[in-house]
Protein backbone atom coordinates (compact mmCIF):
# COMPACT_ATOMS: atom_id res chain seq x y z
CA UNK A 1 0.00 0.00 0.00
CA UNK A 2 1.31 3.44 -0.90
CA UNK A 3 2.03 5.43 2.24
CA UNK A 4 3.42 8.71 1.00
CA UNK A 5 2.83 10.33 -2.33
CA UNK A 6 4.68 13.58 -2.99
CA UNK A 7 3.78 15.06 -6.35
CA UNK A 8 5.43 17.91 -8.25
CA UNK A 9 7.11 19.45 -5.20
CA UNK A 10 8.86 22.73 -5.94
CA UNK A 11 10.69 24.89 -3.43
CA UNK A 12 12.61 28.04 -4.28
CA UNK A 13 14.72 30.40 -2.21
CA UNK A 14 14.78 33.66 -4.18
CA UNK A 15 16.24 32.86 -7.60
CA UNK A 16 17.51 29.44 -6.45
CA UNK A 17 15.30 26.47 -7.28
CA UNK A 18 16.24 24.07 -4.48
CA UNK A 19 13.63 21.42 -5.32
CA UNK A 20 12.32 21.38 -8.87
CA UNK A 21 9.09 19.54 -9.61
CA UNK A 22 10.02 16.43 -7.64
CA UNK A 23 7.72 13.45 -7.18
CA UNK A 24 8.36 10.63 -4.74
CA UNK A 25 6.45 7.67 -3.33
CA UNK A 26 7.02 5.43 -0.33
CA UNK A 27 5.08 2.25 0.36
CA UNK A 28 4.26 0.82 3.78
CA UNK A 29 7.19 -1.12 5.23
CA UNK A 30 9.39 0.03 2.37
CA UNK A 31 12.84 1.54 2.95
CA UNK A 32 13.52 4.25 0.41
CA UNK A 33 16.85 6.02 0.04
CA UNK A 34 17.47 9.57 -1.08
CA UNK A 35 20.99 10.33 -2.20
CA UNK A 36 22.72 13.09 -4.07
CA UNK A 37 25.76 15.33 -3.97
CA UNK A 38 25.94 18.28 -1.56
CA UNK A 39 23.53 21.00 -2.63
CA UNK A 40 21.41 18.65 -4.71
CA UNK A 41 18.29 19.58 -2.71
CA UNK A 42 17.73 16.41 -0.71
CA UNK A 43 17.74 18.21 2.67
CA UNK A 44 15.27 20.80 1.36
CA UNK A 45 13.05 18.00 0.06
CA UNK A 46 13.22 16.27 3.44
CA UNK A 47 12.31 19.56 5.14
CA UNK A 48 9.28 20.04 2.90
CA UNK A 49 8.17 16.50 3.66
CA UNK A 50 8.46 16.93 7.43
CA UNK A 51 6.98 20.43 7.51
CA UNK A 52 10.03 22.41 8.44
CA UNK A 53 9.50 24.42 5.28
CA UNK A 54 6.40 24.59 3.12
CA UNK A 55 6.68 23.82 -0.60
CA UNK A 56 5.88 26.58 -3.09
CA UNK A 57 3.74 24.13 -5.02
CA UNK A 58 2.93 20.45 -5.16
CA UNK A 59 1.05 17.93 -3.11
CA UNK A 60 2.13 15.65 -0.26
CA UNK A 61 -0.28 12.93 0.80
CA UNK A 62 0.30 10.71 3.78
CA UNK A 63 -2.17 7.83 3.92
CA UNK A 64 -4.25 9.67 1.30
CA UNK A 65 -4.44 12.77 3.48
CA UNK A 66 -3.08 16.04 2.11
CA UNK A 67 -0.40 17.35 4.48
CA UNK A 68 1.57 19.79 2.31
CA UNK A 69 0.32 22.88 4.19
CA UNK A 70 0.23 21.26 7.63
CA UNK A 71 2.45 22.33 10.52
CA UNK A 72 5.05 19.87 11.86
CA UNK A 73 2.77 19.32 14.87
CA UNK A 74 -0.14 18.14 12.72
CA UNK A 75 2.15 16.06 10.53
CA UNK A 76 3.56 14.38 13.64
CA UNK A 77 0.03 13.68 14.81
CA UNK A 78 -0.80 12.32 11.35
CA UNK A 79 1.87 9.64 11.69
CA UNK A 80 5.15 11.20 10.61
CA UNK A 81 8.32 11.10 12.72
CA UNK A 82 11.81 12.38 12.03
CA UNK A 83 15.35 11.82 13.20
CA UNK A 84 17.48 14.84 12.49
CA UNK A 85 21.01 14.75 11.12
CA UNK A 86 22.50 15.96 14.40
CA UNK A 87 20.80 14.03 17.18
CA UNK A 88 18.23 16.31 18.76
CA UNK A 89 17.59 14.69 22.08
CA UNK A 90 17.12 16.31 25.47
CA UNK A 91 20.66 16.11 26.82
CA UNK A 92 19.82 17.24 30.35
CA UNK A 93 17.12 14.61 30.71
CA UNK A 94 17.64 10.91 31.30
CA UNK A 95 17.12 8.31 28.59
CA UNK A 96 13.86 7.27 30.28
CA UNK A 97 12.63 10.87 30.37
CA UNK A 98 13.50 11.32 26.69
CA UNK A 99 11.46 8.26 25.77
CA UNK A 100 8.62 9.37 28.02
CA UNK A 101 8.65 12.77 26.30
CA UNK A 102 8.17 11.08 22.94
CA UNK A 103 5.49 8.70 24.22
CA UNK A 104 3.41 11.28 26.09
CA UNK A 105 3.24 13.81 23.23
CA UNK A 106 -0.45 13.22 22.63
CA UNK A 107 -1.49 12.97 26.28
CA UNK A 108 -3.99 15.73 27.12
CA UNK A 109 -2.75 18.77 29.03
CA UNK A 110 -4.80 17.75 32.06
CA UNK A 111 -3.33 14.27 31.80
CA UNK A 112 0.17 15.73 31.72
CA UNK A 113 -0.53 18.03 34.66
CA UNK A 114 -1.81 15.16 36.77
CA UNK A 115 0.89 12.80 35.42
CA UNK A 116 -1.78 10.31 34.43
CA UNK A 117 0.37 8.50 31.87
CA UNK A 118 3.71 8.50 33.73
CA UNK A 119 3.48 4.78 34.48
CA UNK A 120 1.15 3.82 31.63
CA UNK A 121 4.13 3.97 29.27
CA UNK A 122 6.49 1.92 31.47
CA UNK A 123 6.10 -1.21 29.34
CA UNK A 124 6.58 0.76 26.09
CA UNK A 125 9.75 2.26 27.54
CA UNK A 126 11.06 -1.17 28.49
CA UNK A 127 10.44 -2.49 24.97
CA UNK A 128 12.15 0.52 23.35
CA UNK A 129 15.12 0.28 25.71
CA UNK A 130 15.48 -3.38 24.85
CA UNK A 131 14.99 -2.93 21.06
CA UNK A 132 17.56 -0.16 20.86
CA UNK A 133 20.10 -1.61 23.31
CA UNK A 134 19.74 1.21 25.81
CA UNK A 135 18.75 -0.85 28.89
CA UNK A 136 21.98 -0.03 30.74
CA UNK A 137 21.55 3.70 30.25
CA UNK A 138 17.96 4.17 31.39
CA UNK A 139 18.84 6.67 34.12
CA UNK A 140 21.85 8.20 32.36
CA UNK A 141 21.52 11.74 31.08
CA UNK A 142 21.08 11.55 27.32
CA UNK A 143 23.82 14.14 26.78
CA UNK A 144 26.32 11.75 28.37
CA UNK A 145 25.65 8.93 25.88
CA UNK A 146 28.11 8.11 23.10
CA UNK A 147 27.46 9.62 19.68
CA UNK A 148 26.03 6.38 18.35
CA UNK A 149 23.81 5.81 21.36
CA UNK A 150 22.43 9.34 21.04
CA UNK A 151 21.46 8.61 17.44
CA UNK A 152 19.79 5.35 18.48
CA UNK A 153 17.95 7.13 21.26
CA UNK A 154 16.58 9.63 18.78
CA UNK A 155 15.44 6.83 16.47
CA UNK A 156 13.87 5.12 19.49
CA UNK A 157 12.09 8.38 20.35
CA UNK A 158 10.81 8.64 16.80
CA UNK A 159 9.65 5.01 16.89
CA UNK A 160 7.95 5.67 20.24
CA UNK A 161 5.49 7.80 18.31
CA UNK A 162 4.43 4.63 16.42
CA UNK A 163 4.79 6.46 13.11
CA UNK A 164 3.47 5.36 9.75
CA UNK A 165 6.44 7.08 8.11
CA UNK A 166 9.90 7.58 9.60
CA UNK A 167 12.25 10.14 8.06
CA UNK A 168 15.93 9.57 8.82
CA UNK A 169 18.40 12.33 8.00
CA UNK A 170 21.87 10.81 7.78
CA UNK A 171 21.35 8.26 10.55
CA UNK A 172 24.94 7.00 10.40
CA UNK A 173 26.76 10.34 10.25
CA UNK A 174 29.92 10.21 12.36
CA UNK A 175 29.44 6.55 13.34
CA UNK A 176 32.04 3.81 13.49
CA UNK A 177 31.59 0.78 11.18
CA UNK A 178 30.27 -1.28 14.11
CA UNK A 179 27.79 1.45 15.05
CA UNK A 180 26.71 1.71 11.41
CA UNK A 181 26.00 -2.00 11.34
CA UNK A 182 23.95 -1.79 14.55
CA UNK A 183 22.03 1.17 13.13
CA UNK A 184 21.26 -0.87 10.02
CA UNK A 185 19.86 -3.68 12.17
CA UNK A 186 17.68 -1.20 14.08
CA UNK A 187 16.34 0.29 10.86
CA UNK A 188 15.54 -3.19 9.55
CA UNK A 189 13.50 -3.88 12.68
CA UNK A 190 11.82 -0.46 12.40
CA UNK A 191 10.91 -1.14 8.76
CA UNK A 192 8.63 -3.96 9.91
CA UNK A 193 6.44 -1.33 11.56
CA UNK A 194 6.56 1.65 9.17
CA UNK A 195 7.78 3.06 5.89
CA UNK A 196 11.19 4.72 6.04
CA UNK A 197 12.92 7.41 4.02
CA UNK A 198 16.68 7.61 4.54
CA UNK A 199 18.75 10.57 3.42
CA UNK A 200 22.34 9.40 3.57
CA UNK A 201 25.82 9.97 2.17
CA UNK A 202 27.10 6.50 2.96
CA UNK A 203 26.43 4.69 -0.31
CA UNK A 204 27.33 1.28 1.05
CA UNK A 205 24.80 1.73 3.82
CA UNK A 206 22.11 2.96 1.44
CA UNK A 207 22.68 0.03 -0.93
CA UNK A 208 22.41 -2.49 1.87
CA UNK A 209 19.34 -0.94 3.50
CA UNK A 210 17.02 0.33 0.79
CA UNK A 211 14.43 -1.33 -1.41
CA UNK A 212 14.48 1.67 -3.73
CA UNK A 213 16.84 4.61 -4.15
CA UNK A 214 16.07 8.11 -5.44
CA UNK A 215 19.03 10.08 -6.78
CA UNK A 216 18.81 13.87 -6.69
CA UNK A 217 20.85 16.32 -8.69
CA UNK A 218 20.37 20.08 -8.96
CA UNK A 219 16.96 19.94 -7.34
CA UNK A 220 15.54 17.13 -9.48
CA UNK A 221 15.29 13.39 -9.11
CA UNK A 222 17.39 12.00 -11.94
CA UNK A 223 17.02 8.29 -11.23
CA UNK A 224 14.83 5.93 -9.24
CA UNK A 225 15.38 2.22 -8.90
CA UNK A 226 16.61 -0.72 -6.90
CA UNK A 227 20.18 -0.47 -5.60
CA UNK A 228 21.48 -2.64 -8.45
CA UNK A 229 19.63 -0.56 -11.04
CA UNK A 230 21.01 2.65 -9.57
CA UNK A 231 24.55 1.26 -9.60
CA UNK A 232 24.27 0.57 -13.34
CA UNK A 233 22.59 3.89 -14.23
CA UNK A 234 24.95 5.95 -16.40
CA UNK A 235 23.35 9.26 -15.43
CA UNK A 236 23.84 8.47 -11.74
CA UNK A 237 27.47 7.57 -12.32
CA UNK A 238 27.93 10.83 -14.10
CA UNK A 239 26.28 13.17 -11.60
CA UNK A 240 26.89 11.45 -8.32
CA UNK A 241 29.05 8.40 -8.02
CA UNK A 242 32.07 9.89 -9.72
CA UNK A 243 32.01 12.86 -7.35
CA UNK A 244 32.09 10.90 -4.11
Amino acid sequence: MTLLVATNITKTFGPLVAVDDVSLTIDSNEVVGLIGPNGSGKSTLLHTLCGRTLPDSGSIKLNNREIARMSPIRRARSGMAIKFQLARIYGQKTVRENLLLALQAETSLIGLLFSRTRHRFDSDIEVLLSDFGLEDFVNVKAGELSHGAQQWLEIAMAMARKPALLLLDEPTAGMSPAERQSTGELITIAAQKCGILIVEHDLGFIRSMCDRINVMHQGSIVAVGTPSEIEKDERVKEVYLTRV
Partner: protein, 334 residues
Protein backbone atom coordinates in the same frame (compact mmCIF):
# COMPACT_ATOMS: atom_id res chain seq x y z
CA UNK B 1 4.69 13.41 43.56
CA UNK B 2 8.29 12.66 44.39
CA UNK B 3 9.95 15.38 46.44
CA UNK B 4 13.70 15.11 46.37
CA UNK B 5 16.95 17.04 46.42
CA UNK B 6 16.56 20.76 46.10
CA UNK B 7 12.79 20.58 46.28
CA UNK B 8 13.07 18.94 49.66
CA UNK B 9 15.50 21.65 50.76
CA UNK B 10 13.13 24.38 49.63
CA UNK B 11 10.25 22.79 51.52
CA UNK B 12 12.48 22.49 54.57
CA UNK B 13 13.20 26.22 54.40
CA UNK B 14 9.50 27.09 54.32
CA UNK B 15 8.85 24.83 57.30
CA UNK B 16 11.85 26.37 59.08
CA UNK B 17 10.54 29.89 58.46
CA UNK B 18 7.14 28.91 59.82
CA UNK B 19 8.70 27.22 62.85
CA UNK B 20 11.07 30.14 63.56
CA UNK B 21 8.53 32.88 63.04
CA UNK B 22 7.22 33.02 66.65
CA UNK B 23 10.77 33.71 67.84
CA UNK B 24 11.17 36.36 65.17
CA UNK B 25 8.13 38.15 66.53
CA UNK B 26 9.20 37.79 70.16
CA UNK B 27 12.79 38.85 69.68
CA UNK B 28 12.51 40.75 66.43
CA UNK B 29 10.77 43.94 65.42
CA UNK B 30 8.49 45.40 62.75
CA UNK B 31 11.43 45.90 60.46
CA UNK B 32 12.35 42.21 60.45
CA UNK B 33 8.72 41.15 60.11
CA UNK B 34 8.19 43.58 57.23
CA UNK B 35 11.31 42.37 55.44
CA UNK B 36 10.33 38.72 55.76
CA UNK B 37 6.81 39.47 54.55
CA UNK B 38 8.16 41.32 51.55
CA UNK B 39 10.54 38.44 50.73
CA UNK B 40 7.63 36.00 50.69
CA UNK B 41 5.55 38.29 48.47
CA UNK B 42 8.37 38.98 46.04
CA UNK B 43 9.01 35.23 46.19
CA UNK B 44 5.79 34.76 44.22
CA UNK B 45 7.18 37.05 41.53
CA UNK B 46 10.43 35.05 41.53
CA UNK B 47 8.50 31.78 41.20
CA UNK B 48 6.63 33.18 38.21
CA UNK B 49 9.86 34.25 36.46
CA UNK B 50 11.46 30.89 37.22
CA UNK B 51 8.46 29.01 35.80
CA UNK B 52 8.34 31.14 32.66
CA UNK B 53 12.05 31.50 31.99
CA UNK B 54 13.90 28.88 34.02
CA UNK B 55 11.49 26.03 33.30
CA UNK B 56 9.93 26.95 29.93
CA UNK B 57 12.53 29.21 28.30
CA UNK B 58 10.30 32.27 27.90
CA UNK B 59 12.68 35.06 28.84
CA UNK B 60 10.33 37.60 30.32
CA UNK B 61 11.78 40.98 31.22
CA UNK B 62 8.40 42.41 32.08
CA UNK B 63 6.97 40.09 34.69
CA UNK B 64 6.41 43.04 37.04
CA UNK B 65 3.66 44.20 34.69
CA UNK B 66 1.50 41.36 35.99
CA UNK B 67 2.65 41.96 39.57
CA UNK B 68 1.57 45.60 39.13
CA UNK B 69 -1.73 44.66 37.49
CA UNK B 70 -2.48 42.46 40.49
CA UNK B 71 -1.44 45.21 42.92
CA UNK B 72 -3.57 47.87 41.23
CA UNK B 73 -6.56 45.54 40.88
CA UNK B 74 -6.37 44.72 44.58
CA UNK B 75 -6.01 48.40 45.48
CA UNK B 76 -9.02 49.44 43.40
CA UNK B 77 -11.17 46.58 44.71
CA UNK B 78 -10.25 47.26 48.33
CA UNK B 79 -10.32 51.03 48.29
CA UNK B 80 -12.92 51.98 45.70
CA UNK B 81 -15.30 49.04 46.12
CA UNK B 82 -14.73 48.43 49.81
CA UNK B 83 -14.11 44.72 49.35
CA UNK B 84 -11.52 43.72 51.92
CA UNK B 85 -11.91 39.96 52.07
CA UNK B 86 -8.45 38.64 51.30
CA UNK B 87 -9.66 35.66 49.26
CA UNK B 88 -11.83 37.92 47.08
CA UNK B 89 -9.06 40.47 46.64
CA UNK B 90 -6.43 37.91 45.70
CA UNK B 91 -8.90 36.17 43.37
CA UNK B 92 -9.59 39.44 41.56
CA UNK B 93 -5.85 40.21 41.39
CA UNK B 94 -5.01 36.76 40.08
CA UNK B 95 -7.85 36.82 37.57
CA UNK B 96 -6.76 40.23 36.27
CA UNK B 97 -3.24 38.85 35.82
CA UNK B 98 -4.56 35.78 34.03
CA UNK B 99 -6.58 37.86 31.58
CA UNK B 100 -3.71 40.23 30.76
CA UNK B 101 -1.29 37.32 30.63
CA UNK B 102 -3.55 35.38 28.27
CA UNK B 103 -3.86 38.34 25.89
CA UNK B 104 -0.12 39.01 25.84
CA UNK B 105 0.82 35.33 25.79
CA UNK B 106 -1.55 34.62 22.89
CA UNK B 107 -0.12 37.57 20.97
CA UNK B 108 3.47 36.51 21.63
CA UNK B 109 3.34 32.76 21.16
CA UNK B 110 0.51 32.05 18.73
CA UNK B 111 1.84 31.40 15.26
CA UNK B 112 5.48 30.93 14.49
CA UNK B 113 8.19 30.35 17.03
CA UNK B 114 9.75 33.48 18.55
CA UNK B 115 13.25 33.82 19.95
CA UNK B 116 14.11 34.43 23.59
CA UNK B 117 15.42 37.85 22.60
CA UNK B 118 12.13 38.79 20.96
CA UNK B 119 10.19 37.81 24.07
CA UNK B 120 12.67 39.71 26.27
CA UNK B 121 12.48 42.91 24.23
CA UNK B 122 8.71 42.74 23.87
CA UNK B 123 8.11 42.27 27.59
CA UNK B 124 10.71 44.92 28.43
CA UNK B 125 8.89 47.41 26.21
CA UNK B 126 5.64 46.32 27.83
CA UNK B 127 6.98 47.07 31.30
CA UNK B 128 8.15 50.49 30.15
CA UNK B 129 4.79 51.27 28.56
CA UNK B 130 2.83 49.99 31.58
CA UNK B 131 4.78 52.14 34.01
CA UNK B 132 4.34 55.21 31.80
CA UNK B 133 0.63 54.49 31.51
CA UNK B 134 0.21 54.13 35.27
CA UNK B 135 2.22 57.31 35.85
CA UNK B 136 -0.11 59.37 33.69
CA UNK B 137 -3.48 57.69 34.36
CA UNK B 138 -5.30 59.83 36.91
CA UNK B 139 -8.02 57.23 37.61
CA UNK B 140 -5.41 55.07 39.35
CA UNK B 141 -3.62 57.93 41.08
CA UNK B 142 -1.13 58.71 38.31
CA UNK B 143 2.41 59.19 39.65
CA UNK B 144 1.21 59.13 43.28
CA UNK B 145 -0.27 55.67 42.95
CA UNK B 146 -3.00 54.55 45.35
CA UNK B 147 -2.24 55.07 49.05
CA UNK B 148 -4.35 54.18 52.04
CA UNK B 149 -5.47 50.72 50.98
CA UNK B 150 -7.45 49.27 53.91
CA UNK B 151 -6.22 46.23 55.83
CA UNK B 152 -7.59 42.96 54.51
CA UNK B 153 -10.09 40.80 56.35
CA UNK B 154 -10.58 37.05 56.49
CA UNK B 155 -14.04 35.75 57.38
CA UNK B 156 -14.76 39.16 58.91
CA UNK B 157 -11.59 39.27 61.01
CA UNK B 158 -9.33 42.23 60.37
CA UNK B 159 -5.73 41.27 59.51
CA UNK B 160 -4.06 44.41 60.79
CA UNK B 161 -0.78 43.50 62.44
CA UNK B 162 2.65 42.77 61.03
CA UNK B 163 2.88 39.17 62.27
CA UNK B 164 -0.60 38.30 60.98
CA UNK B 165 0.19 39.76 57.57
CA UNK B 166 3.43 37.78 57.64
CA UNK B 167 1.50 34.56 58.24
CA UNK B 168 -0.92 35.50 55.48
CA UNK B 169 2.01 35.96 53.09
CA UNK B 170 3.56 32.70 54.30
CA UNK B 171 0.37 30.71 53.73
CA UNK B 172 -0.23 32.19 50.26
CA UNK B 173 3.42 31.69 49.32
CA UNK B 174 3.44 28.11 50.59
CA UNK B 175 0.28 27.25 48.64
CA UNK B 176 1.64 28.55 45.36
CA UNK B 177 5.11 27.20 46.02
CA UNK B 178 3.71 23.69 46.40
CA UNK B 179 1.64 24.16 43.25
CA UNK B 180 4.79 25.21 41.38
CA UNK B 181 6.68 22.17 42.69
CA UNK B 182 3.81 19.93 41.69
CA UNK B 183 3.72 21.39 38.18
CA UNK B 184 7.46 21.10 37.50
CA UNK B 185 7.56 17.54 38.85
CA UNK B 186 4.62 16.48 36.69
CA UNK B 187 4.71 15.25 33.10
CA UNK B 188 3.64 18.77 32.19
CA UNK B 189 6.85 20.06 33.82
CA UNK B 190 8.84 17.64 31.69
CA UNK B 191 7.07 19.05 28.65
CA UNK B 192 7.85 22.62 29.75
CA UNK B 193 11.52 21.68 29.94
CA UNK B 194 11.34 20.03 26.51
CA UNK B 195 10.01 23.27 25.03
CA UNK B 196 12.70 25.23 26.86
CA UNK B 197 15.50 22.99 25.58
CA UNK B 198 14.33 22.52 21.97
CA UNK B 199 10.88 23.74 21.07
CA UNK B 200 11.15 22.70 17.42
CA UNK B 201 12.01 19.15 18.44
CA UNK B 202 8.97 19.17 20.74
CA UNK B 203 6.78 20.25 17.83
CA UNK B 204 8.10 17.38 15.71
CA UNK B 205 6.95 14.99 18.42
CA UNK B 206 3.49 16.52 18.10
CA UNK B 207 3.41 18.75 21.18
CA UNK B 208 1.14 21.75 20.83
CA UNK B 209 3.94 24.13 21.65
CA UNK B 210 1.92 27.32 21.29
CA UNK B 211 -0.83 26.13 23.63
CA UNK B 212 1.66 25.09 26.28
CA UNK B 213 3.60 28.36 26.07
CA UNK B 214 0.43 30.46 26.24
CA UNK B 215 -0.83 28.38 29.15
CA UNK B 216 2.40 28.70 31.13
CA UNK B 217 2.74 32.40 30.35
CA UNK B 218 -0.84 32.99 31.48
CA UNK B 219 -0.36 30.95 34.63
CA UNK B 220 2.83 32.78 35.59
CA UNK B 221 1.08 36.10 34.97
CA UNK B 222 -1.68 35.05 37.35
CA UNK B 223 0.90 33.97 39.93
CA UNK B 224 2.77 37.28 39.72
CA UNK B 225 -0.54 39.13 39.98
CA UNK B 226 -1.46 37.29 43.18
CA UNK B 227 1.92 38.45 44.54
CA UNK B 228 1.06 42.00 43.51
CA UNK B 229 -2.35 41.78 45.19
CA UNK B 230 -0.71 40.54 48.35
CA UNK B 231 1.78 43.39 48.18
CA UNK B 232 -1.01 45.96 47.89
CA UNK B 233 -2.94 44.74 50.94
CA UNK B 234 0.11 44.22 53.16
CA UNK B 235 1.98 47.42 52.26
CA UNK B 236 -1.16 49.59 52.01
CA UNK B 237 -0.12 51.43 48.87
CA UNK B 238 0.69 50.84 45.22
CA UNK B 239 2.73 52.96 42.84
CA UNK B 240 3.66 52.89 39.13
CA UNK B 241 7.10 51.45 39.90
CA UNK B 242 5.41 48.11 40.70
CA UNK B 243 4.66 47.70 36.99
CA UNK B 244 8.01 48.84 35.70
CA UNK B 245 11.35 47.81 34.35
CA UNK B 246 13.24 48.10 37.66
CA UNK B 247 11.18 45.45 39.46
CA UNK B 248 11.01 43.27 36.33
CA UNK B 249 14.79 43.24 35.93
CA UNK B 250 15.28 42.75 39.67
CA UNK B 251 13.21 39.56 39.45
CA UNK B 252 15.38 38.34 36.58
CA UNK B 253 18.48 39.33 38.58
CA UNK B 254 17.35 37.18 41.51
CA UNK B 255 16.83 34.23 39.19
CA UNK B 256 20.23 34.72 37.52
CA UNK B 257 22.05 35.08 40.84
CA UNK B 258 20.25 32.15 42.38
CA UNK B 259 20.48 29.82 39.42
CA UNK B 260 17.97 29.44 36.60
CA UNK B 261 16.21 26.10 36.61
CA UNK B 262 15.79 25.84 40.38
CA UNK B 263 13.33 27.38 42.83
CA UNK B 264 15.55 27.38 45.87
CA UNK B 265 18.44 29.39 44.37
CA UNK B 266 16.42 32.36 43.16
CA UNK B 267 14.46 32.46 46.43
CA UNK B 268 17.71 32.45 48.40
CA UNK B 269 19.14 35.19 46.20
CA UNK B 270 15.98 37.23 46.71
CA UNK B 271 16.14 36.79 50.49
CA UNK B 272 19.84 37.65 50.74
CA UNK B 273 19.54 40.71 48.52
CA UNK B 274 16.39 41.96 50.24
CA UNK B 275 18.01 41.69 53.65
CA UNK B 276 21.21 43.36 52.44
CA UNK B 277 19.35 45.87 50.28
CA UNK B 278 17.53 47.61 53.10
CA UNK B 279 20.67 47.90 55.23
CA UNK B 280 23.12 48.79 52.50
CA UNK B 281 20.92 51.24 50.65
CA UNK B 282 20.76 53.39 53.77
CA UNK B 283 24.42 53.00 54.66
CA UNK B 284 25.93 53.27 51.16
CA UNK B 285 23.29 54.78 48.87
CA UNK B 286 25.72 55.47 46.01
CA UNK B 287 27.96 52.44 46.37
CA UNK B 288 25.27 49.77 46.73
CA UNK B 289 23.78 49.83 43.20
CA UNK B 290 27.31 49.57 41.77
CA UNK B 291 28.04 46.65 44.08
CA UNK B 292 24.88 44.88 42.90
CA UNK B 293 25.88 45.39 39.26
CA UNK B 294 29.37 44.05 40.02
CA UNK B 295 27.90 41.05 41.83
CA UNK B 296 25.76 40.25 38.81
CA UNK B 297 28.75 40.44 36.46
CA UNK B 298 30.88 38.26 38.73
CA UNK B 299 28.09 35.70 38.97
CA UNK B 300 27.59 35.56 35.21
CA UNK B 301 31.33 35.13 34.61
CA UNK B 302 32.25 32.73 37.41
CA UNK B 303 28.93 31.12 38.33
CA UNK B 304 26.78 31.10 35.20
CA UNK B 305 24.42 28.66 36.90
CA UNK B 306 24.07 30.89 39.98
CA UNK B 307 24.79 30.37 43.65
CA UNK B 308 23.13 26.96 43.59
CA UNK B 309 26.00 25.71 41.46
CA UNK B 310 28.66 26.64 44.07
CA UNK B 311 28.87 23.08 45.55
CA UNK B 312 29.14 21.60 42.04
CA UNK B 313 31.84 24.11 41.03
CA UNK B 314 33.81 23.38 44.22
CA UNK B 315 33.49 19.62 43.63
CA UNK B 316 34.74 19.97 40.07
CA UNK B 317 37.68 22.12 41.17
CA UNK B 318 38.55 19.62 43.87
CA UNK B 319 38.47 16.69 41.45
CA UNK B 320 40.60 18.65 38.98
CA UNK B 321 43.12 19.34 41.75
CA UNK B 322 43.18 15.67 42.71
CA UNK B 323 43.70 14.67 39.08
CA UNK B 324 46.51 17.19 38.68
CA UNK B 325 48.34 15.92 41.75
CA UNK B 326 47.74 12.24 41.14
CA UNK B 327 48.60 12.18 37.42
CA UNK B 328 51.90 10.40 36.88
CA UNK B 329 54.58 12.55 35.30
CA UNK B 330 55.95 10.83 32.26
CA UNK B 331 59.53 11.86 31.90
CA UNK B 332 59.75 10.40 28.41
CA UNK B 333 57.38 13.00 26.98
CA UNK B 334 58.74 16.00 28.84
Amino acid sequence: MVIKGRNAAAIAIIVAIAAASPFIFIFGNDYITGTLTRILILGLLVLSVELAWGQTGMFTLGQAVFFGVGAYSAAVVAKDYGITDVIAILSVAGFAGLIIGLLIGAFLFTGRRVSELYVALFTLALAYAAQRLATSWSAIGAANGIPGIPFPTLFGLKLDSGPILFYLALVVFAIFFFICLWVVNSQFGLTMNAIRDDEERAEFFGYRRQTIQVLVFTGTAGLAAVGGGLFAITEGFVSPSLLGIALSTSAVLWVVLGGKGTFLGPLLALAILQILDRRMQDAFPQFWPIAIGGLLLITIVFLPKGIMSIPQVLRERKSQRVLRHSAPIREDIQ
